[in-house]
Symmetry: C2
Subunit: 230 residues, 2 copies
C-alpha cells in the first residue's frame, strides 16, 4: 500500500545494500539512476540541481563519511571531471546543497510576508513548501548530515539561514496564538516539534514510491497544524 | 527564560567550541563534567551509564567522526585505560549506547501490554518515557548518529529493536483510531511525525537548563497527542 513509506533500512541504515552485496558478490558501481537526467544543453542551474539530487540519492544508501564524488558522478552517468567543473570538492557540494535546500524554505517564508491570510494558512503554506523541498528535491537527506562536515564559515552561514527560518516559523505560531487561532502553546517548543517531525522525513521517505510528495505534505501539515488548534 | 532551549549551535553545530578555541588559542582537554559522577564503589552498570552520558555530552560538541575514546574519558575524569575495561572500542561503546537507549523505550512499551488504560493514556506513557530516555539519560544524541558507524550485525540488531518500538507506537495509534479516541489518521505517517519530533530533541535540548526534562516531556506529549484527538 504505502510503497513510499519503506522499511527504514535505507538512509543511514544501508542494510539493504549490504545484504544484496553479500548475495551478489563484490559491490559494483551503482548504475545511473533513470530518474536523474543529464541532458545535453541543460542550463548550469539545472545541472547543479541534478547533482544535488544525485547527492541526496547516494546519501540514502551510505553515510557521508564513505561517500565519494565518484559515487555521485556514477549515479548521474557523468564523469568525475565534469562534476568537479560544478563543485570544487565534496565539502563544497554539501555546502551548496545545504544552502539550496534552505533557500527554498526561506523563499516560502518570504512569500508570506505582508500577506493578509490568517497565520494558520500562512504556516500551512510555509510547512508545505519546506516538506516539498525535502521530498521533491531529494536533497532533504543533507539536512540530517553532520554539520561538522562543513568548514566553520560555511557552517556559520548555513546555521544563520536555518535560524532565520526557524524564527519565522515561531513568529507565525506566536501570531496565531495572539489572535486566538492557536492554543496558547510555547512557540519555541511547538516550533521544535513541528520542524523536528518534518526534518526527520528523509529517514523514512522513499522518493518515487506510491504515496506522493503532495500526499505526504498534506497529511503532515494537517496533523501538525491540528496540534496547534484550540 | 528557556535556558534549556539553547540556540542550536551545539550538537553537530560546534560553532561555540570552535569560536572559543580561536579566541583562546589551541584547544584544551575538556575539564571533567561536574554533572557526571565517577565514584569509587559504583556498580559496573552505574559506570557504564555514566560513560554513556559522557558520550552523549561529547557528541553535543563534536561529530562522531572526530570524537575519540580519550574525549569521553577526559569528560569523566577517568583514564582511557579504564574506559577500555568497559568497552572494546568506540564502535562497541556506540552500539551498546544505542541498545541501552532503545531498551528504555521498549521497556516502557512492554509495560503497556495488558493494560486496560485507554490507548491515549498508554501512548502518553510510552512517549513520555521515550522523551525522558533521550533527555534525562543524555544519550539521546546517539540516536542522531549515522548508523553506518555500526558494524552490519550491530546495525541489524539495533534496527530490529527500533522497528519493534515504532510498530508498538503505531499499534497504539491504530487502537485509538479503532476505538474512536483518535481521528482516523494514517497510523504510519502519524507515527513517523510523532517519533520524528521526539528524535529531533537532541538537536536543540541542553541538559541542565532551566526547563526540566519533565516539563519538556509533558509539553511535547500534550502537543503531539492533541494532534491525534478528534
Amino acid at each position: 500500500m504505502l510503497d513510499s513509506v519503506r522499511r527504514p533500512t535505507l538512509l543511514f541504515d544501508p542494510l539493504f545494500k549490504l545484504n544484496s552485496r553479500s548475495k551478489n558478490g563484490p559491490a559494483r558501481a551503482t548504475p545511473p539512476d533513470t530518474t536523474l537526467t543529464w541532458r545535453r544543453g541543460a542550463s548550469p542551474a539545472a545541472r547543479r540541481k541534478e547533482i544535488f539530487r544525485s547527492l541526496g540519492l547516494v546519501l540514502r544508501e551510505r553515510g557521508l563519511a564513505s561517500l565519494t564524488m565518484q559515487d555521485i558522478a556514477d549515479r548521474l552517468g557523468m564523469t568525475k571531471g565534469s562534476l568537479y567543473y560544478y563543485f570544487k570538492d565534496k565539502q563544497d557540494l554539501l555546502y551548496q546543497c545545504h544552502l539550496a535546500c534552505m533557500s527554498v524554505s526561506l523563499d516560502a517564508l518570504a512569500r508570506t510576508k505582508g500577506s493578509r491570510r490568517p497565520p494558520a494558512a500562512r504556516l500551512r503554506a510555509v510547512l508545505t513548501q519546506h516538506i516539498r523541498a525535502i521530498t521533491d528535491e531529494v536533497y532533504g537527506a543533507v539536512m540530517l548530515t553532520d554539520l561538522e562536515s562543513l568548514a566553520p564559515p560555511q557552517r556559520k552561514r548555513y546555521v544563520a539561514m536555518r535560524d532565520r527560518f526557524e524564527k519565522g516559523v515561531r513568529a507565525l505560531i506566536r501570531e496565531g496564538v495572539r489572535r486566538g487561532e492557536f492554543k496558547p502553546v510555547d512557540a519555541r517548543l511547538a516550533g521544535f516539534a513541528i520542524l523536528g517531525a518534518i526534518n526527520w522525513i528523509p529517514k523514512w521517505y522513499h522518493p518515487g514510491g506510491e504515496l506522493s510528495s503532495e500526499a505526504i505534505a498534506e497529511s503532515f501539515v494537517d496533523f501538525l497544524v491540528a496540534a496547534l488548534e484550540p
